[in-house]
């Protein structure tokens, strides 16, 4: 009987929870974190190829010289940027609990810092991509 009662709803998450901005910033933080660590796994391997000599390594880096990779590269930089800025925000709130009382200001500030720096980075890198084409 007990187990029948305790059945969890299958479609528990049918609708989105309209949470605090912090819910979304955390989600992005998590997603960018995972993206970056997955990239890192790959990056260690590709860099390690250098141990097999210039031919091997340059073959790898050659593969990177195409626009699609550059778009991914832009994504990576933005991810690191976002994760870092949001990570700093989290760390600040962790070490100064009183900031939690001003989360609006803190959250907005970090968002602005990200948007501005992301815009600059995107600008520069897009230009590079365009130049390359």
């Amino acid at each position: 009987m007990a187990s029948r009662l305790r059945k969890k709803q299958k479609d528990d998450f049918g609708t989105a929870y309209r949470g605090h901005e912090g819910q979304w910033s955390w989600m992005f933080h998590r997603i960018t974190g995972v993206a970056v660590i997955l990239f890192l796994f790959a990056h260690v391997v590709d860099t390690a190829v250098i141990g097999w000599g210039p031919e091997a390594y340059d073959r790898v880096t050659e593969a990177y010289k195409n626009p699609a990779v550059h778009v991914l590269e832009l994504g990576l930089v933005l991810a690191v940027l976002y994760h870092s800025i949001n990570g700093m925000k989290v760390t600040l709130i962790d070490f100064f609990p009183s900031l939690a009382g001003h989360i609006k200001v803190v959250g907005r500030t970090s968002a602005i810092v990200f948007v501005v720096s992301a815009a600059i980075v995107t600008g520069i890198m897009t230009k590079q991509i365009i130049d390359l084409l």
Binding site: K7, K8, Q9, H20, S98
Partner: protein
């Protein structure tokens, strides 16, 4: 300066404006009844309501005049007992603290998340209260009792005032993305109640509590998403309290 009579006219005028006529409200309610089906379904009800009606009374209208099987918990009807936390238009709130006016003509109501649904809007509160119990939510002071009161300055008292307001409604814990993923996480409500004692100058059990809270299910699972603070119907600065607890574990100071 305005005389009382002036102030009065103002407020009466405002109220008269606010209470203008009934509105039609469509409720979309997520239903579940294991006696009927193992799956949940949606029901829609249309009711007339005053803009200043509480949503819990609208639910009563449905239960009393449309479908008696609709089940939900409620008691005080003014936000003090913590019975009726539910997911209203995608946000946790007490149905008795949301007015028709606040939610517009269409309202979606679901049970709070992360706790097993037992019937309609009723969820199993036991895991939630179990979390509460693990943080030793009672004053611990074994160094003798005075004849009268223990002294405490107004500042010391103010230190934990915010977290004494908790009514254990679970709105915070069931809004926490971490709790949705893992109900082993002790959850913001338990931490709020731990905070209430950790920062009480009369308490001597804080070390014990902090040890419990620094375990894998404890306070370090919090990712500062602030959903809890947003959801708390008592306006408790939940995340701030959690951060203070983290800090006091870090520095072993309280």
């Amino acid at each position: 300066m305005a005389t009382p009579a002036d102030v009065l006219q103002d407020s009466d005028a405002r109220r008269a404006g606010g209470a203008a006529g009934a509105v039609t409200l469509t409720l979309r309610i997520r239903r579940f009844n294991p006696e009927i089906s193992q799956d949940s379904w949606w029901d829609e009800f249309t009711v007339e309501a005053d803009p200043l009606d509480r949503l819990v009374e609208v639910l009563h209208q449905v239960k009393w005049y449309h479908d008696g099987t609709l089940s939900f918990r409620r008691s005080c009807a003014h936000g003090i007992c913590g019975s009726d936390a539910m997911l209203i238009n995608g946000r946790n709130a007490l149905a008795c603290k949301v007015l028709v006016d606040d939610v517009g003509p269409r309202v979606t109501i679901e049970p709070i998340r992360g706790l097993a649904v037992l019937k309609d809007l009723i969820v199993d509160m036991d895991p939630f209260l179990e979390g509460y119990r693990t943080v030793l939510p009672f004053l611990i002071n074994d160094s003798g009792e005075p004849d009268k009161e223990r002294l405490q300055s107004a500042e010391e008292r103010a230190r934990f005032d915010d977290t004494t307001k908790c009514i254990l409604c679970a709105a915070c814990t069931t809004s926490c993305p971490i709790f949705w993923g893992d109900e082993g996480y002790i959850g913001p409500a338990a931490i709020v109640n731990a905070h209430r004692f950790i920062f009480d100058s009369r308490d001597e059990g804080s070390r014990e509590r902090l040890k419990i809270l620094s375990e894998k299910t404890g306070v370090f699972r919090c990712r500062t998403t602030f959903n809890c603070t947003d959801a708390c119907p008592r306006g408790i600065q939940v995340t701030k309290a959690i951060q203070e607890v983290k800090r006091s574990i870090l520095f072993d100071r309280f």
